[in-house]
Amino acid sequence: MVGWAIALHGGAGDIPIDLPDERRIPRETALRHCLDLGVSALKSGKPPLDVAELVVRELENHPDFNAGKGSVLTTQGTVEMEASIMDGKTKRCGAVSGLTTVVNPVSLARLVMEKTPHIYLAFDAAEAFARAHGVETVDSSHFITPENIARLKQAKEFNRVQLDYTVPTPKVPDNCGDSQIGTVGCVAVDSAGNLASATSTGGYVNKMVGRIGDTPVIGAGTYANHLCAISATGKEEEIIRGTVARDVAALMEYKGLSLTEAAAYVVDQSVPRGSCGLVAVSANGEVTMPFNTTGMFRACATEDGYSEIAIWPNN
């Protein structure tokens, strides 16, 4: 049955089962709201590329997810945001990194895709490009939330990221709370089989200034072609090495796996346990949201009436 489908995520990670209500409920509400927005847009015939962008914009604006407002902080207490977007039909794509004042990074990524002969712009130049195109910018303080100031303090105290760079990264302590939350994303397909994917993030808490993760790397955090659209989240270095988003599509193309099989395979086999989750839709209107972490903030809906909003595994 071919109909539209949409899936979105607010990050996969070590989300504790006993997440307090005051942290859980606003996020669930936001997921529901974003799902509704996306579904309305698809029902009104908006192209999946527009739908993916508008849903991610909404997630960026929400302060409880690690993208746009609410982004985690670098080791210097600043915000450096990145995003990418891809149109499955044409495989055109756009990506940005190192943003500090752009309110909606995903929209800037789209502008790079549509208004430049390039795919990826970063840091000062990306900011200058934003201004040159009249894109909405604000003071960096807009993006910083008290929760994230606290997360950074906690991360520095537990020394989660070794700063002397001479030894391998230590294993993350078990009690890291929800400080691993990373990335938001949305994938959508319409009844004609047009696919799109968009992903946005503040990155990794206490990250080095200038550090780029998987989100703006086409094939890692984001990918879409004529078969499927994927947005990934989790430990960014693993997603890059595992070329996660591309691999889901590659397994469908080259091994003939179904969307669900391909996505499950990647999450089970291509990345370590506890490192990754993704949302994906296929040209046939199927949807899948596998993850190998404790939880993943996610939501999806299909034209035949199915919908789901969840955080932890369903069983």
């Binding site: 495989k91 055109r92 794509c93 990506a95 990194s97 190192g98 430049t116 002969p117 390039h118 795919i119 990826y120 712009l121 970063a122 840091f123 000062d124 130049a125 990306a126 200058a128 490009f129 990221v161 070794q162 760079y165 001479t166 391998p168 990264t169 990794y204 990250k207 080095m208 200034v209 200038g210 550090r211 780029i212 993760g213 790397v217 086409i218 094939g219 890692a220 990918y223 960014e236 270095e237 890059i240 090495r241 595992g242 070329t243 591309r246 691999d247 590659a250 397994l251 080259y254 091994k255």
Partner: protein
């Protein structure tokens, strides 16, 4: 079958009217780099170390578009990027927006080995470089007179030049004999991207790959291409090592380097079949080339562009340096 193998490239998409002396210079550089790699492989140096040392040589020589001799940004400065990947465990490192680090590929290696991240860029990468004590130079070190001339031409033509290795005074003549071939919408006479790369499989069957570039002539500051993107310009796995060059946007969309390995892994193709497949089916209307080695000691070059500066060698004595088909 088996044994070490190495390939190097200096870019895909070459003006058919490139003067003979430039072609000769390129072949000599490729031969020299190949020999460096061969000597290292014979002394049992690991694939990842060989990739790094060969690319350092390509970056240091001003002939190709990487390190010294990089194409210039619209502001006349140099912004370099590079990535490196070790097939064993698929560890990787990448850098972008490098302006003072003499050998970007070595910085990419340090990101892989000495930082908790995979990819660092701009001022953050430069800070990391200083903390690691790598060799730092002024940005002017990377700028050559040739490229200053090219930038001027590019601005006059108001277009992006991938690179253009014909001396400035020769370009009027070259324009008169313009080939109808195009790359990225530009006549081939004003296009020649000379991203450099190296892929190696060592005697233990370990594969590694690396790519380094200054990017597009007259590019926007802050523009990132395919060379530092794992899966696009560079990829290595247990099966193979791949480095790509050509139209960056086409390579990114095609996740070209990753796809060579993916068709080997998921379709069971051998290296030659895999390279042929991706070049034929993955580039759509784009033009690019790549070099690849397999864990079985094979080496393959493939391109759909007009030529690719390349060289390859295997342990059984095979060696070839070429530009055209």
């Amino acid at each position: 079958m088996g044994g070490w193998a190495i390939a190097v490239h200096g870019g895909a998409g070459i003006d058919p009217n490139l003067p003979a002396e430039r072609q000769e210079e390129a072949k000599q550089l490729l031969t020299r780099c190949l020999n460096l790699g061969i000597v290292a492989l014979r002394s049992n140096i690991s694939a990842i170390d060989v990739v790094e040392l060969v690319i350092r040589e390509l970056e240091t020589d001003p002939l190709f578009n990487s390190g010294r001799g990089s194409a210039l940004t619209e502001k006349g400065t140099v912004e370099m990027e590079a990535s490196i990947m070790d097939g064993t465990k698929r560890r990787c490192g990448a850098v972008s927006g490098i302006t003072t680090v003499k050998n970007p590929i070595s910085l990419a290696r340090l990101v892989m080995d000495k930082s908790p991240h995979s990819y660092l860029a701009f001022s953050g990468a430069e800070d990391f470089a200083r903390k690691q004590g790598v060799e730092i130079v002024d940005n002017e070190y990377f700028v050559t007179d040739d490229n200053v001339g090219m930038l001027k031409l590019a601005k006059e033509a108001n277009s992006i030049l991938f690179d253009y290795r014909i001396p400035p005074m020769g370009c009027a003549g070259a324009a008169a004999t313009d080939s109808p071939i195009q790359m990225n919408g530009l006549p081939i006479s004003i296009y020649a991207p000379e991203t450099v790369g190296c892929v190696v499989v060592d005697g233990e069957g370990r594969c590694a790959a690396g790519t380094s570039t200054g990017g597009l002539m007259n590019k926007m500051m802050g523009r990132i291409g395919d060379s530092p993107l794992i899966g696009a310009g560079t990829y290595a796995s247990d099966f193979c090592g791949v480095s790509c060059t050509g139209e960056g946007e086409a390579i990114i969309r095609a996740t070209l380097a990753r796809d060579v390995s993916a068709v080997m892994e998921y379709k069971g193709l051998n290296l030659q079949e895999a390279v042929d497949y991706v070049i034929k089916h993955r580039l759509d209307e784009g033009f690019a080339g790549l070099i690849a080695v397999s864990n079985k000691g094979e080496v393959v070059c493939g391109f759909n562009s007009n030529g690719m500066f390349r060289g390859c060698a295997t342990e059984d004595g095979f060696m070839e340096v070429a530009i055209w088909e």
